[in-house]
Each structure stands twice: as C-alpha cells, then as structure tokens.
Symmetry: C3
Subunit: 309 residues, 3 copies
Amino acid sequence: MKHLVSILDLNNKDVNKIFSIAKHFEEVLERRVKKVPALIGKTLALLFIEPSTRTKTSFELAARRLSCDTISLSVSTSSLKKGETLEDTARTLSSMKVDCAVVRHPHEGAAKKLASLNLFPVINGGDGKGEHPTQALLDAYTALKKLKSLNGKKVSIIGDVLHSRVARSGIELWHRLGAKVTLVGPPTLLPRHLPEYVDVSYRLDEVMKNSDILYFLRIQRERLGGECLAGIEDYRDLYALTKDRLKNLRRDVVIMHPGPVNRGIELDPEVIYDERSIIEEQVFEGLSIRMAVLTLLLSEKGGFHEIPA
Amino acid sequence: MKHLVSILDLNNKDVNKIFSIAKHFEEVLERRVKKVPALIGKTLALLFIEPSTRTKTSFELAARRLSCDTISLSVSTSSLKKGETLEDTARTLSSMKVDCAVVRHPHEGAAKKLASLNLFPVINGGDGKGEHPTQALLDAYTALKKLKSLNGKKVSIIGDVLHSRVARSGIELWHRLGAKVTLVGPPTLLPRHLPEYVDVSYRLDEVMKNSDILYFLRIQRERLGGECLAGIEDYRDLYALTKDRLKNLRRDVVIMHPGPVNRGIELDPEVIYDERSIIEEQVFEGLSIRMAVLTLLLSEKGGFHEIPA
Amino acid sequence: MKHLVSILDLNNKDVNKIFSIAKHFEEVLERRVKKVPALIGKTLALLFIEPSTRTKTSFELAARRLSCDTISLSVSTSSLKKGETLEDTARTLSSMKVDCAVVRHPHEGAAKKLASLNLFPVINGGDGKGEHPTQALLDAYTALKKLKSLNGKKVSIIGDVLHSRVARSGIELWHRLGAKVTLVGPPTLLPRHLPEYVDVSYRLDEVMKNSDILYFLRIQRERLGGECLAGIEDYRDLYALTKDRLKNLRRDVVIMHPGPVNRGIELDPEVIYDERSIIEEQVFEGLSIRMAVLTLLLSEKGGFHEIPA
C-alpha cells in the first residue's frame, strides 16, 4: 500500500508523475463542468484534529471534483473526546470501507503511525512540526510552472524554519528539483542540524538580491514576543517583505507564501497582490496537485494507470 | 458579474424571471427524484459567519437539488480565527474555482464588500440589520401564489422593524409588487426615516381588520426587557398574534413569519398551524426561490438562459 | 408511514427482509465502485442532538453509497439554541422536502415524539436510555453471519444494562431470534423489572464458560466512582474481559462490543483484535444494515420492493 506521509515517500519518477497528472487536472478545473468521474464510489476521510480551513477545503474540493465522497471527522464532533484513540477511529473507518484518509494532527509522527497500520492510503495533511508533503509539491509545481525549470534557481525560505513542517518538506523537494536553498531567520528559529546543501542567513536584506524565489513562512503569532523574538516590530524590521523592501525588489523575483498570510507581519498587504507574487496560483495548484495525489493513491494499479477523462 | 446583495439589485423583469424559474423548480421538488443536473460541476460556498440553521439548510438543499456541490466554512472551523480576513478567505475560494458564495454576516455591508471584489457572484444571506433579499423574494412569491396578485393588497409588518433585515428587503419588494405597506410596532422599534409610501401604526389591533397580510417579524429575545421594551408580557399585549386575537381575525387574512417563531412571543403556538398561516409554504418556497437565484447567477449567459429539465 | 423507533416496530418478516437486503449491500460494499443509485434525489437529515461520530458516520456513509443526499444539523450549529423546538426543526425539514431523518437525542422518547408527527420516516439513532434499534439489528446480523443460527445460543450482555439503549433494543431482538439472554453486571446497574425469558448474573466468571456470545456494553466513565460503582479497578475485577480472562476463554466464543471501546475498562486492548472478536465486523455490518433500513423506509411501496442493482 502506498502512503504520502513524507516527501521522502516519493522518488523523482513519482514527483514527475504527480506533476504530469496535475497538469491534466488544471485543465479540468478551467472547464465549464469542473468534475470528472475518476473516483466515483470512493470515500476520502478528512481527519482534521487541528483546525485548518485552507488545507481541508482544498482536499474536500479536490475530492468532489473527482466525484469522490468525503466524510469529515473534526475534533469537536469526534469520539476522540470520549477517549477513543486515532487508531480506533482509523480501524472504524477502515471497517466502514473508507478508501483513503488525510490527517492533520498537532503531533509529529501521527500520520506515520496511522500509515503504519496499512488500513488505507494515508496522506499527511500536516503533523506538528513534521511534514506537509502536498504543500511542498504544490509549491514546487507552482514555481516550476512560473520559471520553467528550478535547476540552479536560488530559493530563500524566510521565517520560523525550525517549527515549520512546510519548510521541512520543502527543503528536500526544492533541493531534489535542482534549486539551491537558503534558510533565513533569527538564529533561534533556524534548525541546528542541516543538510550540507543548505545555506543559512540571518538577514533578509542580504539574500534578497540573489534570490530567484522568496518563500515566506507563516509566523505563529504566539511565538512573537516570547523567548524567541522580541516582538512584531523587530521581526518586521528584519524578515518581513514590507512595502519599502518591495520597492528595491528584483523585477523577476517570485514571491511565495503557503497562506493564510499574517498581513503586516511577514508580508505587507501590498505584497500579496503584487505582480511578482504567485500566492493565488499556489492555492489553485493546491487543488490540481491534490487531485493528482488522490488519483494516484486511490487507483486500482497502485498509482500507475491512465488518467480518466 | 451579477450579485444579489440588495433587493435593489433586481429590476422588475429580474423578479419576474426568478418567480417564473421558481415555479418550474416547485414542480421538480414534488417529483420522485427531486434533483436536476443543472449545476453539475459547480460549487457554492456557504460562508456563515453568524449561526443560521434555516437559511443555511435551505441554500444547501437548493444547491444539492441542482447537483451543485457545496462547501461550508463556518466560524468555528474557519481560519478567520487565525486572523484571516473575509477578503482573504474569498480570494482563496476564488483561486479554488468556487463558483458562488452565500454570505451571512453580523455586520451590515459585509456582503456588499465581498461582492465588490467581483471574484464570484455573491448572495447576501443576511448582513446585520442590512438586507436579506432571498427572504423577501420567497415571502412575496409565497403570498403571490396564495393571493394571485399583490396589487392593492395591504401588508402589515409587525415587530422590531428597526433592526430587521427581513423588513428592510421586504418593504421595497412588497411596494414594488403593488402592495401597500404598514409598519406596526412600538415607536422605539420603528425606523425614523421612511419612504413616503409606507404607513406606520403603533397598535396591531388598529390595523388587523384592514390587513390582507399580517407579516410577523422574529423578536430578538435580548431586546425584550431592555431599554426598548418593558418585557415579553407588554409586547404580547400589543403586538403578538395570540389565541384571543386569532378568534377575531378575518377569514381571508394571510399570516406570515420568516421563522423560527418564538412561540408565545410573537405568535401563539395555535397560530403557526392555523389554516390562514402560510409559514410552512414560506419554507418550501425558500427552496424553489433559492434554486432559481442560484441557477440565474451561475448560468453561462449571466442569468438569461433556458432552464435545464 | 413507517418508522424505526423501537425494535418492536418490526415483525419477524421485517427483520428477515432487512437482513436479506443487508446481505445484498454487503456485496456492493466490496465492489470497486461502492455505490448504487437506489436513493438518488432523496435527502436524509442527520439530527444529532447528542454527539456521536460512529453512528452518524455510519448513517452518512450508508446514505452516500445509496446516492442519497444528507443534511446535518448538529447542536452547535442548530437553531435549537435560538429556542426552536425539535418539532419546529422537523416541520421545517419536512417543508424543505427532506425524505427521512435519523435522530440521536439525550432524552428517551424523543424519536417517538418526532415519529408521531408523521412528517417523514424517523429512525431512532439512540434516545437517552431508550432504544437504538439499528445497533440491535447490526449486532444480531453480525452474530448470525458468524454462527449461522442464533437458535438456542447463549448471549451474555455485560455491563451497565440499566442505562443502556443498546441492551434495551438488543434483549428483545436476541430473544426473538431464539437466543437465551443473560444480563451480567452489578445489581445497581441491572434493571429491576425484566421479562421472564431473561436471566441475571452478578459475576462474569460464572457465565463465561456457558456463553456462546459475550456482548460487552460501553461503560460511561462518569458512572464509575459514583454511587453505583466503587471505581474502575473494582469494575475490571468483576466485569472486564481482561488479558487474564482471555486465556481461559472458550475457543469458539464470540466477543462483541458496540464501540467505541474504553480500552482497559470493559475490554483490554488485546481483546479487541483477538480472533474471537467480531467488533470490526459489527462496524462493517452497521453500514449494510443501515443501507437496508434506509432503502426500505424510503422506497416507494412502503418497504416492499425490489432492490436496485
């Protein structure tokens, strides 16, 4: 059985296959009838133990447009309250012939644990500070569409890299697609142990001119003003893409953010809709990538089949 | 792009078109298979920032019966908690190729603001004390079906008119369809500035005999016993359709209420199922009117097309 | 109009019919496309006034796999907060042409009250300590599949029988299918007035060897440590299927539980996945039984018709 828990679950051939199917689904999403019968009679469970509108909505819409049913088990309505474990819930869903589950969980490793039961294909929709592989895939795919190739491109990932599952999945994938990754942030928010191929900088202004892609992470407000950071103003001074910094920015740079943006913290409002930003394209490709991943994981032949029209 | 934010967004031709399509869908709703493929592959977002079972369920069922997918973003599960604005959410939904949104919001003007982005057609599902246009349409349509014509008919709207979005949308539409509107309530709960064509009365007993339609508004319990009103008993004495008042009522009067009824406050329980009440018909027509509005807003030709069988 | 409020609503012919249709749907659930168009254009309302993931998900999936739309009205999003009664909600749903409702309610009698309005077929999804007829049906059906016949079989129901709607519905059905029922629990948690055909025991160890089926009820944690029971340890000593008791268990006994299991209270974790446990099969048959019940209640001919392929 195949799962998508970590970006490491995919070899380069898998990544290319996902991108190629996503390209097909992009076209479906522009049709008058934005729906194909690819996964009719299948059911995707949405196990969101941590709130998330964006990722959940994206998976839900991706499933619907493949004619796949969805069943949502949120924390507040779930039996987890009654002391039922995630494993019990998964076994119940499996007995109910659910075909796949997306799991968002506050604890790192939760998706892996679920996948290890091999009850059904599990997609990691974000596990604590672990991984978020579909986000990395959609990010890389959106950038690839914009820049044609990522080979030799310089990607700066800015913010609280230490606690970011988006960064964790992204670093590996950007690297694998030939990009050169630099992590930018205060020392306390950067990981200590890093692969050799990753650079580090403590100042956004230093890397800005040399970056082809500026990827801003979402700051958890609760971390600001604590031990790690002095406050929002200090963070903005050093790491935010402000209106002022925007003026000095290269014409051909690409601005990215996984959303939702903390306006006035990591990005000024003007930046979001600047012509160099591809943040809205990221949201769109979130759908096509997730449609591709669902199709591959739920296909009869273990992910190697023709895509239905 | 067309929106339905205010009843003023519709000219008389639009209103007639909606009524005519609603008539078609009424018939669909009586079929064995209560579903048509009209909006297959489309997605309606339900943005309910204020709780509402009735309106939300009505839109949700209307969409399903047109084979339209729905996606629900309620307050509790939404990223609005994380500081995301309604505009950000709307832009995200637009990038995800959502085709239309219904918005219920505690603040007047919220639906208009969203519509002004022109991301997708926006339907106002009630904005503070602003407007509630589909409620006005379904009310007028239900009354029209009962009375054949509204021309010259006397409509009394009773209750807290000042804070009522239902009344705000209704007054305009009743008037436009030829009815004579009288507002009835305590002086503190009636608007100060009114169109010339509207009459005012402080006593239900005065207008009861001359009214063809008695339209009771829902009282917000929190307003009773406050500055505006002495209490439930005083309100009942003057403005409720009690069991006693029911005895003296004209045989041919029409009783309406947008629901849910505060039993024993604006209406006694006996009134709801009295043969002169068309409250249940209002709920039914809510579906057919909303199916008509969705079909018009989501059609290819901007609302002027043949209705699919 | 037919309802399923109590197991007494069904005669033996009805029970056999449900089992026979369930058998058909079992096969559908093993197909590649786990969906039939049986109830297309119909809508099932899920009225869960008390939280329940398992039963709600089971009904929701059962409906989807029959191509039946569902509409969910939970407590938190419902107008019940605004003072609307369950009857008002039901009348609204009826006006909206909803075809059937499942009701889960903390008060005994709630489903019966709703059914008495005869607005649409009502399924009791659990009413206080009243009944839970679909649970009884799926339990009996799962045991029947395992043991071929229940005639003369000895069923021990263990735990808080007094407050259990599962037991209330089950006792009647097990008996009717020819099984001999023994209730096992502390005297304070067993009903005082019992049908003559029911035996009582205060010790699990006494009945274990003679039971063909051990049916463990879920303990409400809040009852432990109160007046009725000394505490979890005392309960475990007398009534739990522990790892130790498992060793001495007959090879051919059948272990059942309605779920979710309180691990370490009524069952030790090892028991759940023991080869004698059919707990996962119960969950699976929950779907096929509910698909059968929905098909029968929503069919044109009042439940006597051919099943669609």
